[in-house]
Symmetry: C2
Subunit: 273 residues, 2 copies
DNA sequence: CCTATATGTTCAACATAGATGAACACCGGA
DNA sequence: TCCGGTGTTCATCTATGTTGAACATATAGG
């Protein structure tokens, strides 16, 4: 593992909405490096466009990151397809939909469409991570990972309680994920924020792997009466996306029983251009 | 300059919409490295989330780039402000507006809003770069850089002709940029694509520096009759944005005569949180 | 089913690229 | 004007990254 590259990545991660600008000394202090080392890292990253030097000799994130990210988005097959379906969903329900992937054991929101009937969900922001064990999308994504991986994640990050409803024991999590896997969808019943519920379903690519999860969020008082219709709506929508991605339906070999490393050999035949 | 970090950045830049997936051998060949070296680079980048390993042991861009990019966007002051004004502009004219910055001597499109009356402009895509000397936004951005820098850019990238109207000599470019700087706006008269014109104006931050440029694109046959109104519209809009960013108006010390390194000492007082 | 070819992975010896700290230059505030 | 802090440079040393060849693994073809 290239130490220098790791450090460079660490430097990049220092830049957040809270502190968007860093100087040499600050970076050196934050990473425990000598000033000269931090200096060199920053200079090099700036030369490559990953950082940007301000007039005052400090640094901000560079536009190259935007370019790379854009490339990532354009080459992520499920995004384009999912967006269309999400728009329909929002149009029909007037609520908020989320699209998320699992990164490093956490949920990363990739897309969010807000309906006119929807309450502003401050917690979820595109580009932001949240713990996976509480949200609907998070539970869907975890449910389709091998159990050992889930254990490792929990050991690393714990099960922080965001509300009184949040799952906080690994036993309950195990039961929940098993249920989610078998029924094909997950609920969030005020587990991430009091007063907010959602239903979520998995999106699969042509190899059958779960690549993302989609959810429809509603205020709690609207959730319980409409639960059934909400569920079928999100499951249907997610399946429609999966189908468009080349996933050829249920029943077959893809009733993956994660926990065993069963499908680990599934290979993308897709490949190169 | 840290060689390893440079190489890591080179690796990232290999990933494009055309080839979004790379293997160890391919990367090694592309960069002229031994396989083991490429392997280590890819592994490290993947461990940091900047790349993602596929099931088949190949690599794609990672979601960390999306997160970093999102942070960049959220902390770029002019973006939020500009978006609002652009929406108004599109609503009023039904044409397409672009927002762009200068990166590495090229124009990088950062935002694009399409009106209902507008023709699809395939050439400009958010996240894509174009040479600066032909587009309206490009000329605005170049006009406010020191002339020596412009010369360096031209020496590096030449003046490729995208249409018969494209400026292809440095003399014409110099005259054009001077005019643009003095009048406060630029036209693109079918210089990037036949049949397409635009008017563009600079956006300044509170230090008076030109941080971005905005344009309103229209089909050529609609450009000439409406030129005057188009010009005032874009200039007005851009000025409104600048004002909201804290730029306190014309006339004062900001009539920057780029070419002399006059304002190089202007310092952002903005800073950290 | 088994071979052949290509691709990803590992390892240990070597050389150089990067780490380091002190001294310097520079700016902004007192 | 001076002072504290910040960014920058440099020469020394060693840890780090580089390298190529051998190994493991997967894909395509007979």
């Amino acid at each position: 593992m290239l130490q220098t590259v790791r450090r460079a990545a660490q430097v990049l991660r220092l830049f957040t909405p809270e502190q968007a600008e860093w100087g040499v000394t600050e970076v050196a202090a934050a990473l425990g490096l000598p000033k000269s080392g931090a200096h060199l890292l920053l200079r090099t990253l700036a030369a490559e466009g990953l950082l940007q030097r301000t007039a005052s000799g400090r640094y901000r994130l560079g536009w190259s990151l935007f370019e790379l990210s854009q490339t990532k988005l354009e080459t992520t097959d499920f995004l384009l397809v999912a967006r269309r379906v999400m728009e329909q969903l929002v149009a029909g329900w007037g609520e908020t939909t989320h699209l998320a992937v699992l990164v490093d054991g956490q949920v990363l929101y990739v897309e969010k469409l807000q309906g006119d009937r929807a309450l502003e969900i401050v917690l979820s922001r595109v580009g932001k991570r949240l713990p996976a064990h509480c949200s609907g999308v998070g539970k869907v994504l975890l449910a389709h990972r091998p159990w050992e991986e889930v254990v490792a994640i929990v050991e690393r990050q714990g099960l922080p309680a965001l509300t009184p409803n949040t799952i906080t024991t690994i036993e309950r999590l195990r039961a929940e994920l098993e249920a989610v896997r078998h029924q094909g969808f997950a609920y969030d019943q005020e587990e991430v924020m009091v007063g907010l519920c959602c239903a979520a379903a998995p999106i699969r690519d042509e190899t059958g792997e779960v690549v993302a999860a989609m959810s429809l969020s509603v205020p709690a008082y609207r959730f319980y009466p409409y639960r059934q219709r909400l569920t079928t709506a999100i499951v249907e929508a997610a399946r429609r996306i999966s189908t468009q991605l080349g996933y050829d339906g249920e029943g077959s070999q893809w009733n993956d029983t994660a926990g065993s490393r069963s499908r680990s050999s599934a290979r993308a035949t897709s490949g190169r251009t």
